[in-house]
């Protein structure tokens, strides 16, 4: 017999219908066997359907409630299809209203879809009581912080069918505990205490599941709404950390730059234009910084103009930069003074790979009238200039700038996260800092 049933399972009907004794409307019963109370979707009368003969409990003649998600609408959440069978408008004594849709699937039982200030949660009745002590609760190894204490929740309006006797004005005492993404709620009346856990769900998920449009999300955030900045911030911290380490490592190791060419040039004393070519200079990496350092040990009260041109032997593509090395010193009422430097470094930030020649056009000048040991006017003295071409890590300043640039978005994200958490916690009865309006 069982085998025969498996081959062609007889399909039981999913719904039945009753006639509202108040308005005569045909009302679908979608959770037959479970439903106890039906609030007529046409006239809002409360009906007792716990026995075959439908009884009128409270008669209403209201206009049909326009629900955002009409009764009978189906949607898939968490991989399970749910049907809206009931709806309640609830509030704290008329203030802070919210809505609860009762969802049903005959194989999965009941769930709640809760709509509060533009945010959504998916709730489930618990069959266990969370453990724990003051200030917090434990459930399935997760810790929940007390958020709302000793609230009251009343039923303002109902539509559809429910598995308990529900009516307008029903009031329960409520307490809520949260952790990011989840809320534990305790509802107690004189007879029983019930526990439920609700999970925050993205409005887009609900919109996609039930084909609705909702307004923009809540602000301040819902008590259990996870900060949208956390995921980003965690990723950013990891990426920034890796990048920072890489930059520091590059500055430390690759920064010990490689010398590509070195040459000592003689500076003509007559101040004529001179030119020298260093090369070949082979650059292997796709792009690299190239530094050219000129050092004139005998420079005193004079300067050397420098023009560097890096020329790719293959393409004749040229990179240009200018520099000057100048150094002055003297003596005045404050004593000895000096300014400038006997060395100067020119940087090509990013040079593509290739074989290059460095053309150095230079011109030495001296401060006429100055007297020193290495005076260029001394015919016996031949001033020299040492040119060193190096490649490697970015200069320290560039590394520091990179670190700051990496840090800025992380800091920005952290500030936004802190603002979100402060706004979220500000709603709590256990907010760490109380606002001025003590009530």
């Amino acid at each position: 017999m069982a085998e025969a049933d498996t081959l062609s399972p007889p399909q039981a009907p999913a719904a039945t219908a009753i006639t509202c004794p108040s308005c005569g409307g045909t009302v679908a019963i979608r959770a037959a066997g479970h439903s106890v109370t039906v609030a007529c979707e046409y006239c809002a009368s409360i009906l007792d359907v716990s026995e075959p003969a439908v009884k009128l409990v409270v008669e209403h003649h209201r206009r049909r409630a326009a629900l955002d998600i009409p009764l009978g609408t189906r949607g898939t959440l968490k991989g399970v299809e749910w049907e809206v069978v009931g709806w309640m408008a609830r509030s704290e004594g008329g203030a802070y209203p919210w809505e609860e849709y009762l969802l049903f699937n005959p194989y999965e039982g009941y769930r709640w879809l809760i709509y509060n200030r533009g945010g959504w949660s998916f709730g489930e009745q618990l069959t266990v009581v969370p453990g724990g002590g003051w200030g917090g609760l434990e459930l399935d190894g997760a810790h929940y912080k007390h958020f709302f204490a000793e609230g009251t929740a009343q039923v303002d309006r109902v539509v559809g069918e429910f598995y308990w006797r529900v009516k307008q004005g029903d009031t329960v005492r409520t307490d809520d505990w949260v952790r990011p993404g989840y809320m534990l709620s305790r509802e107690a009346d004189d007879r029983e205490i019930s526990w439920s856990r609700s999970e925050w769900i993205d409005a887009k998920t609900v919109e996609a599941a039930f084909g609705i449009r909702t307004e923009s999300g809540p602000w301040p955030p819902l008590p259990h709404q996870p900060s949208p900045h956390v995921a980003w911030l965690k990723q950013a911290l990891v990426i920034a950390g890796i990048a920072a380490l890489a930059i520091i490592a590059a500055a430390m190791f690759a920064g010990g730059s490689r010398t590509l060419a070195e040459q000592t040039l003689t500076i003509a004393r007559d101040g004529n234009d001179q030119s020298a070519t260093l090369g070949p200079i082979t650059l292997r990496r796709p792009y690299q910084p190239v530094s050219v350092r000129a050092e004139v040990p005998s420079l005193s009260n004079g300067w050397v103009d420098l023009e560097y041109t890096l020329v790719d032997r293959a393409t004749q593509r040229a990179f240009n930069t200018y520099k000057a090395a100048e150094r002055y010193s003297g003596r005045d009422s404050d004593g000895d003074w000096s300014e400038g430097s006997r060395r100067t470094t020119a940087d090509f930030a990013s040079v593509p790979a290739g074989t290059y020649d460095l053309v150095v056009d230079y011109k030495g000048n001296n401060w006429l009238g100055a007297q020193s040991i290495g005076d260029w006017r001394n015919a016996a003295f031949a001033p020299e200039m040492r040119i060193t071409v190096t490649s490697g890590g970015a200069p320290f300043g560039v590394a520091l700038l990179a670190l700051i640039l990496i840090g800025v978005p992380v800091l920005f994200g952290a500030i936004r996260h802190a603002a979100f958490e402060q706004a979220r916690m500000g709603e709590s009865d256990f907010a760490p800092t109380s606002s001025e309006d003590d009530d």
């Binding site: 037959a32 066997g33 716990s50 039982g109 009745q125 266990v128 453990g131 598995y163 308990w164 007879r191």
Partner: protein, 220 residues
């Protein structure tokens, strides 16, 4: 296993366990009672009202590693609704009850009343008040409900006749861990059941009832 013809309508009826002497004929809904003298008729069972339960006669599953098959059901009503108690026959011939209420499931097994601390026994059977706590095997249980319940209808094989209109007193206990217990009292006769909440997924049931327009889950 005993298969006989229904003394009322002649349809074949099977009694699978000597500990389940009662059976409702699938054909004519006669309440049959098996005894040493044969199979007699003890009345007529009422028709079950329509519900959308996913369980049916022949649903199979596993509870704590033991295979069972659903072979009977009693539908009960209290002041605020109705629920199903599905009779599950296990491979070793023992039986348990798969309760189905408000979309939740619970599996309980009958347990001898004298296994409970005598100090609490009287409380459970005579003086149960909602909200009171009772220690059961060292676990604190709260009395969640204590009231009269009414048998609406039954089907399949059963350990008792379950006539429609039968009224008994039922006391429900819950713990924080999902454990639950139930005391059923009919005059001087008291039965005690102990168990816990279960999910359909954990029972991995097969041969569930097909419900129009809904996709039955497949539990691997």
């Amino acid at each position: 296993m005993l298969t006989v013809s229904c003394p009322n309508c002649g349809a074949p009826v099977t009694f699978r366990s000597a500990s389940l002497p009662n059976r409702v004929c699938d054909q004519c809904r006669s309440m049959l009672v098996r005894s040493d003298d044969g199979v007699g008729i003890a009345g007529v069972q009422a028709a079950l009202p329509f519900d959308v339960s996913p369980i049916r006669m022949g649903t199979r599953g596993r509870f704590d590693g033991r295979a069972f098959e659903v072979i009977g059901r009693v539908r009960w009503r209290w002041t605020d609704g109705s629920w199903n108690e599905w009779l599950c026959l296990f491979g070793d011939g023992s039986h348990g009850w798969l309760g189905e209420a408000m979309g939740q499931f619970m599996m309980t097994h009958e347990r001898a009343l004298d296994t409970i601390d005598p100090a609490w026994r009287l409380k459970l059977t005579r003086d149960a008040r909602v909200g009171d706590t009772v220690m059961l095997d060292g676990e604190e249980m709260t009395i969640a409900d204590s009231r009269e319940v009414l048998c609406i209808a039954a089907e399949g094989e059963l350990p008792f006749t379950a006539p429609p209109g039968w009224r008994i007193h039922s006391t429900d206990l819950r713990s924080g861990s999902g454990r639950l217990a139930n005391v059923q009292r009919d005059g001087s006769e008291v039965h005690f059941y102990d168990g816990r909440y279960v999910t359909l997924a954990e029972l991995k049931p097969t041969n569930l009832r097909a419900i129009e327009g809904w996709k039955a889950p497949v539990y691997g």
